[in-house]
């Protein structure tokens, strides 16, 4: 395998193994790493992974994930787990929007290793719901790359009670 693929594919292999072994039910990359699937490369220090866990309602939802990773030599590093070159943050789905984003995620791959990613429209609307400047920058980048449209974002925002946030964003950044 080419040397330049030896980093993120390690994360991909771990995630797929976690699903196979029942530690998580599903996963999808989101945040900056997912954004890069649709836009040009962006600088990011970590990889954000949306996960669904088998035991719903458990308070320490991340404990099985941390234990599984530790058993494979991947240790915690602050809020993340160091997987090779990447600090990986596992984010359990926490609302209807992230649940839907996970369910509708795309099947991508890193040089043949499967890696699921949140789609561009859900990336944008998740960004809208969080509302930091970098989230707005992400939405603009996704629109500029034509990986999603204002109409799609508007429709999805309405479905998740984010119409007001979308209207504010549109007035601020898109209206001439």
């Amino acid at each position: 395998m080419p040397a330049y693929h030896r980093f993120m594919d390690e994360v991909a292999k771990l995630l797929n193994a976690m699903v196979e072994d029942g530690v998580i039910s599903a996963y999808a990359v989101f945040g900056a790493v997912a954004q890069m699937r649709y836009t040009e490369a962006v600088v990011t220090l970590d990889a954000d992974i949306l996960v669904a866990v088998p035991e719903i309602g458990r308070l320490d939802v991340l404990t099985p994930i941390y234990e599984y990773c530790a058993s494979r030599g991947f240790k915690p590093e602050g809020e993340a787990i160091r997987v090779g070159a990447w600090p990986v943050q596992f984010i359990p789905v926490f609302d209807a929007l992230t649940q839907a984003a996970l369910q509708r995620s795309d099947a991508g791959d890193i040089d043949g290793v499967p890696l699921r990613a949140v789609t561009a429209d859900y990336l944008a609307v998740i960004g809208l719901s969080v509302g930091r400047p970098k989230d707005f920058a992400r939405i603009l980048a996704l629109l500029e790359a034509e990986s999603t449209s204002a109409q799609d974002i508007e429709t999805l925002s309405a479905a998740h009670g984010l119409t007001a946030q979308w209207e504010r964003f549109r007035r601020r950044f898109l209206d001439a």
Partner: protein
């Protein structure tokens, strides 16, 4: 005076070309930039 419109047009074309790279290639670009940032941070820590 440089032709600013021409420069911006070429920049847009270059950005579009970079967008067409594979997901893996773009991730690798990000990894290389991050390695550079971490090297700079480590260098600053060493020199105070």
């Amino acid at each position: 005076m440089p032709d600013v419109k021409s420069i911006l047009r070429r920049q847009t074309q270059w950005q579009n070309e970079r967008r067409e790279l594979s997901w893996a290639a773009k991730i690798r670009q990000a990894e290389q930039v991050r390695e550079g940032i971490q090297a700079i941070r480590n260098s600053r820590k060493q020199h105070g």
